[in-house]
């Protein structure tokens, strides 16, 4: 073990409580941002949350305090009391853009690589396991992005389609992976895509995946899903470069 380099030596340190509280807070924030837990919905009580997340009650309390401070949840006392979702995590376009500037093109490509890996497996298993009625429901979600307006609504419409597609695999792990990938990418994507044509394109690309699944053409579905991700990452890189090097951009025009 002494021969392990510095990075891997770090792996086996015990996780500090702060990190666990952050992890719980970020899991809940993601779920609320993607609309998996809706406005007005009541969260399970502290004891339940602590069991579900496998962390101490104090850790759950810390996490909830973070969300409360951010105005995302509210705790009411009394007979009809409890902790409720009252706000959406602030995903402001400037914050998202600065996140995009911080990411390198290599990291964006890597994000797309993982998305493609998950998407190809997702489409293959959805083909194995989904029924015609599942595809009908997916078809409705596929076009929702076309009618969405604004960052929040686009984020939800887009991620809902992809997470529902992942749900058709009946694999909890794949669905969790998709939720994580969506939380890392979808808000950033719609913070830079603001053309109605982009929404129409996304709707067409979603529909092409659904149509291929309906036709039971799995290799076509894989190709359409990969291409959809490829186009999104192309646009993200484009936006990243324009934001990071605006002065040089001018000479390209």
């Amino acid at each position: 073990m002494a021969e392990l380099n510095g990075m891997r030596g770090q792996v086996f340190r015990p996780l500090p409580d702060v990190m666990r509280a952050d992890a719980v807070a970020s899991r809940l924030t993601t779920a609320i941002a993607l609309g998996l837990i809706r406005q007005g919905e009541q969260l399970p009580v502290e004891n339940e949350l602590s069991q579900m997340f496998g962390v101490a009650s104090a850790t759950v309390r810390d996490a909830l305090a973070t969300l409360r401070d951010a105005g995302i949840i509210e705790t009411r006392r009394g007979r009809s009391g409890g902790t409720f979702v009252t706000g959406t995590p602030a995903a402001s376009a400037p914050v998202l853009r600065s996140r995009l500037i911080d990411l390198s093109m290599a990291e964006l490509r890597d994000l797309a690589d993982e998305q493609t890996g998950v998407a190809v497996a997702t489409v293959r298993l959805a083909y194995e396991r989904s029924l015609p009625r599942d595809i009908d429901r997916l078809a409705v979600l596929a076009t929702a992005i076309g009618d969405a307006r604004g960052l929040e609504s686009c984020t939800r419409a887009d991620s809902k389609f992809h997470i529902q597609l992942a749900a058709l695999t009946q694999s909890e792990r794949l669905m969790q992976a998709e939720i994580r990938l969506q939380s890392e990418s979808v808000e950033m994507l719609w913070s830079v895509l603001d053309d109605p044509e982009d929404r129409a394109k996304a709707a067409r690309e979603h529909t092409a995946i659904v149509d291929a699944l309906r036709a039971e053409n799995v290799s076509e579905a894989e190709a359409r899903a990969s291409e959809h991700i490829h186009r999104n990452i192309y646009r993200l890189i484009d936006a990243k470069l324009s934001l990071t090097y605006p002065d040089i951009e001018a000479t390209r025009a």
């Binding site: 021969e3 392990l4 510095g6 990075m7 192309y234 470069l241 990071t244 090097y245 951009e249």
Partner: protein, 240 residues
């Protein structure tokens, strides 16, 4: 200015940048070779006390080359004893100081780093020239997505290994995208194997192979001794 002229201009800036790094590496190799020769004297093998000077020289190099993630020397098998070599590698760490990178050099153990079979070692050992490797995932080494630049290291006339540095792909972007963005089309720095090292748009993604020369563009080599790097360019194309 036409695309090919803009690309030629970018190729000059990039070649100049790489040329400076290689010149620094050759200075590093010369200083380390001299320090090792002085310390080893007439002994057949190097001992750990001989390697002490490497730290300061590598640290100076890292201070002068902030884009580099790590730097040091690799001593060929047969330099420490009949079969063993060594890696003396230093990296920038979060505190801004340098820390030594430890490699598993015990054969037959799980994460054994068989460096003598890796391209950045093998190429220099075979050609005795400068080499560039990557981009690649350095599993078992830096565990990062990097490029490795290496130059031969001599003690007197004996080839004993190499000096080199690692550059993280994400750090290279900051230096090179401004140069490549001055090409008003799609352009990318590619390796001798036609793999993209860095592009100026989403068209050429790092790591992907460029399989054909674009019809509306071309390829311009970087003027560098022994190093085969080129820029591929074409008219800008939106994702269709």
């Amino acid at each position: 200015m036409k695309l090919d002229n803009q690309t030629r201009f970018a190729a000059e800036s990039l070649a100049q940048w790489f040329g400076t790094v290689y010149a620094d590496l050759e200075t590093l190799a010369a200083r380390m070779g001299a320090a090792l020769a002085e310390s080893r004297r007439s002994r057949e093998f190097l001992i750990s006390a001989d390697l002490k000077a490497i730290r300061d020289i590598a640290t100076e190099f890292l201070a002068a080359n902030p884009t580099a993630e790590g730097a040091g020397v690799i001593l060929s098998p047969g330099t420490i004893d009949a079969t063993h070599g060594a890696i003396e590698w230093w990296r920038h760490n979060e505190e801004g100081t340098n820390s030594k990178v430890l490699f598993n050099l015990t054969p037959d153990s799980g994460s054994y780093y068989d460096f003598e079979n890796l391209p950045w070692f093998e190429t220099v050992a075979r050609t005795r020239h400068r080499a560039i490797t990557g981009p690649y995932m350095d599993y078992g080494g830096m565990d990062q997505y990097i490029l490795t630049l290496t130059v031969p290291l001599y003690i007197g006339d004996d080839f004993v290994g190499m000096a080199g540095c690692d550059i993280e792909v994400r750090d290279l972007e900051k230096v090179m995208v401004p140069m490549l963005r001055r090409v008003a089309g799609d352009a990318a720095l590619i390796s001798a194997d036609n793999c993209v090292i860095l592009g100026n748009s989403g068209r050429f993604l790092v790591g992907n192979r460029v399989r054909t020369v674009p019809e509306d563009g071309g390829i311009i080599p970087l003027a560098l001794d022994d190093i085969d790097l080129r820029i591929v360019y074409a008219e800008h194309q939106d994702f269709v």
